[in-house]
């Protein structure tokens, strides 16, 4: 695999392989010296056309812990704000010798354009493209669930038999799409709960609930993934008010209490506390939100390692 563009491209074998590498990287991250020389001499550009805190920092940490040279490129205050096209920006970075580009872009398909339109010949890692895909988020969610379920015996395991309920703005969520693809590939059953206005997969065979309480009682999720709701969606008449959304689809303590005993709660962040999730739940025992964040670094190290270290090194693993 040269690029990581979509969780759809990750088959079962590769998924397990990446999660297993990530488990090793997690060991690096918990040691005193959080650095290995794997990518020494490689230059990685983080090309961010959208504001991002956690994803950008997570990638940057991952790159630095692998000893790569890191260049951060934010679209604001750059030649992009002078109207430079993605093609020209990418070709410029490639001409300067970038060994990989991590891209976050507002347009769905931007990562595929960089990888496949013949502009440049550099590994592309999709850090979120529009409302399309965010594959490293799916990997870190899968990793977090697997580690929660299996702990130190996680290596080689998949998510067979696990029920995952994704709740909220599915229509505009690259996180939902990526998890739908990867978690299914790894054997989990994925269901959705959302106002019907925010659910685009009507023709699909996913279990879908327009009522969160019903979803919890019928689907019996082992994990509930709450998505961020952007309040500007109200302008598009997707839902009438924050109050009604929180009442119908927010995860509060009462609803969380209806979950099975060992069920966990995930959120890709940033959270709207009080809207899709209350503080009691976000900070509560079931919450794996901070595990997700720390696992994000390990998973991104695994992806970079897999894509960028030379094939001989991989063969020696």
């Amino acid at each position: 695999m040269k690029h990581l563009l979509s969780a759809k491209e990750i088959d079962h074998k590769l998924g397990i392989q990446l999660l297993d590498i990530a488990a090793g990287m997690a060991g690096v991250n918990s040691s005193d010296i959080k650095k290995i020389p794997t990518l020494r001499g490689k230059s990685i550009v983080n090309l961010f056309y959208e504001d991002s805190t956690r994803t950008r920092i997570s990638f940057e940490l991952a790159e630095k812990r692998l000893s790569a040279d890191v260049i951060n490129f934010a679209a604001k205050g750059s030649s992009v704000s002078k109207g430079e096209s993605l093609k020209d920006t990418a070709q410029t970075l490639s001409a300067m010798g970038a060994d990989a580009i991590v891209v976050r872009h507002f347009a769905s398909g931007a990562a595929e354009a960089l990888a496949h339109f013949g502009w440049i010949d550099v590994p592309i890692i999709n850090a979120g493209d529009g409302t399309h895909q965010h594959p490293t988020q799916a990997l870190l969610d899968a990793f977090t669930l697997r580690r929660h379920l299996f702990g130190s015996s996680e290596i080689g395991k998949d998510l067979k038999g696990i029920n995952v309920l994704i709740v909220g703005d599915i229509a505009h969520s690259r996180v939902a799409r990526s998890n739908r693809d990867l978690l299914r590939t790894l054997g989990a059953t994925v269901a959705f709960a959302a106002p019907v206005t925010l659910y685009p997969f009507n023709e699909d065979s996913n279990p879908f609930y327009s009522n969160l309480d019903e979803a919890i009682s019928d689907f019996q999720p082992d994990a509930v993934m709450m998505l961020r709701v952007q309040t500007e969606r109200m302008a598009g008449s997707y839902f009438p008010s924050e109050r009604e959304y929180a009442r119908m689809f927010g995860l509060n303590s009462e609803r969380a209490a209806q979950l099975s005993k060992n069920a966990v709660v995930l959120h890709p962040g940033p959270m709207n506390r009080g809207l899709e999730i209350t503080s009691e739940v976000a900070d509560g025992e079931r919450s794996l939100v901070l595990n997700q964040v720390s696992n994000g670094v390990s998973v991104r190290m695994a992806v970079l390692y897999h894509l960028l270290s030379s094939s001989e090194e991989l063969a020696n693993d």
Binding site: A113, H116, T131, N202
Partner: protein, 428 residues
């Protein structure tokens, strides 16, 4: 001595004939200055496109009246209808006359301007349709193509006003609120790709409204680039009621589905969007049974930079003039579902009738104007070869059936052995 003697061509009916061309008309065979062996070729009435973007004035870096005319001739066309979304917009007699004259100067096809329905295509105020109709450009078709005349009252007035000189309003059916920021057909593929969907109802709601308006007013309505099975049903219903509605379908909507959007290649980004397989099948059936009257290309050249980019930033539209006859041949003839006669209807006779072009669409018959094309139905060719100034060609990886070999416009050979002719030397 006559200009041309064409020997051994087959007409759409299957009849084999020899015929002459002289002084712009089809004549009895006789000794000629140029003999053309047309054995194995099909002779058809020259094609008439009701929907062409020639981009001039204003966007000459994509296409010009001259370059687009040549591309049309290579596709077997002898007339094209130039859409008014130029800069300046063709919303007054001055601009349509200019386009018409530039077409005559080019000389490869009849360039018939379509006038804008509203000033500046802004959907606010009717343009001076009557002045355009009475100008030397003789405009009989009006459209805000690219934009829908979405205001119901304005559409009613346009239909009423155009009725007084029996012009036709060609509607680009797209409810704007239902398609805000829409990028592709709304369905499972758009859901997976995370691109804003373009629901079928956005097209169908406008068609439903407009056929009812046309019925009440008794006006002539033409529906541009029909793309959904639901639209076909509405038009079928309207025609059965006797409403004066006609409809066109593009080559690409007869060929491709929204699956093409996977990979995000903007060459497949088009308005209306590529739809589902069931829509393609319904469109083909409607073309065969007469619910859809014509194939129109919606030939929409765009510069490389407006297509070699992120999908959501790319322009809508694709080339079509050079592929249209091949797609028609595949869908109607090679499929066994219909006939060469139907192909000649949908590419020539019906569009000429709708646009009231009396010198076009007259068939290949003695005494009729020599607007005709000879094509080789057995040829297989690469869809990658094309002659537009632009390269947004969706057929680049397709093998196309049939090739235009010769085209005659008003008795002048514009295409010979699939090569465009230099008209100055021909006319000398």
């Amino acid at each position: 001595m006559i200009d041309f003697l064409i020997k051994g061509a087959k007409l759409a009916s299957g009849e084999s004939i020899d015929f002459g061309i002289d002084s712009g008309f089809v004549v009895e065979p006789a000794t000629a200055r140029t003999n053309i062996d047309a054995s194995g070729l099909v002779a058809l009435s020259g094609f008439v496109d009701l929907h062409t973007h020639l981009r001039e004035p204003g966007f000459e870096h994509s296409e010009t009246i001259l370059s687009g005319s040549k591309v049309a001739a290579l596709g077997g066309f002898t007339a094209v209808h130039a859409m008014p979304n130029t800069n300046p917009v063709a919303d007054n007699a001055g601009v349509v006359e200019q386009v018409y004259l530039r077409g005559r100067q080019a000389g490869y096809v009849h360039v018939q301007p379509i006038g804008a329905v509203t000033v500046g295509l802004e959907g606010k105020q009717l343009s001076e349709m009557s002045s355009m109709a009475n100008s030397s450009a003789n405009v009989s078709m009006f459209s805000d193509d690219g934009k829908c005349v979405s205001d119901a009252l304005l559409m009613r007035r346009a239909l009423e006003y155009a009725r007084t000189f029996d012009a036709v309003i060609a509607q680009h059916a797209q409810e704007p609120r239902l398609t805000e920021n829409a990028q592709m057909n709304e369905g499972l593929v758009s859901a997976e790709l995370g691109l804003t969907g373009w629901p079928a109802v956005a097209e169908e709601a406008i068609i439903a409204r407009d056929v009812l308006l046309a019925e009440q007013i008794g006006a002539r309505l033409h529906i541009c680039h029909v793309s959904t099975a639901g639209s076909v049903e509405l038009i079928r219903w309207a025609k059965a009621k006797g409403i004066r509605v006609t409809a066109e379908v593009t080559p690409h909507h007869l060929m491709f589905t929204d699956e093409k959007a996977r990979g995000f290649q903007p060459v497949y980004k088009v308005n209306p969007p590529l739809r589902l397989n069931e829509d393609v099948l319904a469109l083909r059936e409607a073309l065969i049974d007469g619910t859809i009257d014509v194939i129109a290309t919606d030939h929409a050249p765009h510069t490389a930079e407006s297509k070699d980019c992120e999908w959501s930033l790319a322009a809508f539209g694709m080339l079509g003039l050079e592929a249209a006859a091949s797609i028609a041949q595949s869908v109607l003839v090679d499929s066994g579902a219909s006939t060469w006669e139907r192909l000649e209807q949908v590419l020539s006779i019906a569009p000429a009738r709708i646009a009231k072009l009396t010198n076009q669409g007259q068939g290949v018959a003695k005494g009729s104007p020599a607007n005709l094309t000879l094509l080789d139905p057995a040829a297989k060719r690469s869809g990658a070869i094309q002659h537009s100034k632009s390269s947004n060609n969706p057929y680049a990886s397709e093998t196309l059936s049939g090739q235009v070999i010769h085209t005659f416009y008003s008795g002048v050979q514009t295409v010979s052995n699939s090569e465009i002719q230099n008209l100055e030397t021909v006319i000398d």
